[in-house]
Amino acid sequence: MSVKTIEDVEFGVELPVFEPDTSLDNVGAFARAVGWGGARFESHEGAREEGFPGALVPGIMGMGFLTSAIHQWAPAGQVEHVDTVFRAPMLADTPAIISAVVTDIDEDEGIVELDMTVKNTKDETRVFGTAKVRLPLG
């Protein structure tokens, strides 16, 4: 369910499920677009030669997944600040589970704070962070 204004937001609510595309082709497209093209993000074999278990998803792409989930939930929201910690590598061609929960609401300013994580299917956290989102006042 999406929200339109700050009045629609409830404390503790979880954002809707967001399924990111972590396919190698998609990860490679992102990496090239941000100027980070290369074996590490575009080839499992090439990444293994660099000592990684497979091609990596750039940490900032994880941030991109999180902000896309926010934008889907709050189509009129503006992400003013987002802070992510890259705890462990995300691998391409591996499902990622995005979750986010509302942790604070400032109804006067129209600001919502979120805690967010990207996990793998073993429930291991890969990326976590926080965001401040400005929403229209009611």
């Binding site: 967001f18 990111p20 595309d21 998609n26 990860v27 497209a29 992102f30 090239r32 677009a33 941000v34 100027g35 980070w36 940490g59 900032i60 792409m61 941030m63 991109g64 997944f65 902000t67 896309s68 989930a69 934008h71 889907q72 189509p75 503006q78 992400v79 003013e80 600040h81 987002v82 802070d83 992510t84 910690v85 890259f86 962070g129």
Partner: protein, 147 residues
């Protein structure tokens, strides 16, 4: 053991790199779509509010990770995370200036030793000197034990 107060005194809040750049709309669209973005302002260059996503901004750097005279801390700096604070939309084909300085240096101690965190702040300005965004990159270095 490296004296962090001494490092802070020497390096914090002193610009160590800058460069000019312009973003390309096509790349902004590709990165936004690959991230799963569906909002027009991020994926349609014809949208009057077309702009870069927060994640794209985090790919912008000054071209230099650390000040040229910053001492080696014994390990290879790893990318520990990124943050972005947006003050105004960042749009393609607009001349911009990127400036970098060290914003913070701190440590965390654990059983395996001390980890040093270096926060590099990259500031983004347009040609009218409007401050568009801050991008913080956290570099993490595992300090080499004294021998």
């Amino acid at each position: 053991m490296v004296d962090l107060d001494e490092l802070k005194g020497r390096f914090l809040n002193t610009e160590f790199a800058s460069r000019d750049l312009q973003l390309q709309a096509e790349k902004l669209v590709t990165a936004a779509k690959a991230s799963g973005e569906s909002r027009s302002e991020f994926i349609d260059p014809c949208d009057e509010n077309f702009q870069a996503t927060p994640a794209y901004l985090c790919s912008i750097s000054s071209g230099q990770h650390l000040p040229i005279d910053f001492p080696s801390l014994g390990g290879i700096p790893m990318d520990g995370g990124k943050a972005v604070e947006r003050f105004a939309p960042v749009r393609p084909n607009v001349p911009m200036t990127v400036k970098a300085h060290l914003h913070d240096i701190y440590d965390k101690k654990g059983r395996s030793g001390r980890m040093i965190f270096i926060v590099v702040r990259t500031e983004l300005f347009d040609s009218a000197d409007t401050h568009l965004a801050n991008i913080d990159s956290r570099l993490v270095v595992r300090e080499k034990p004294d021998t």
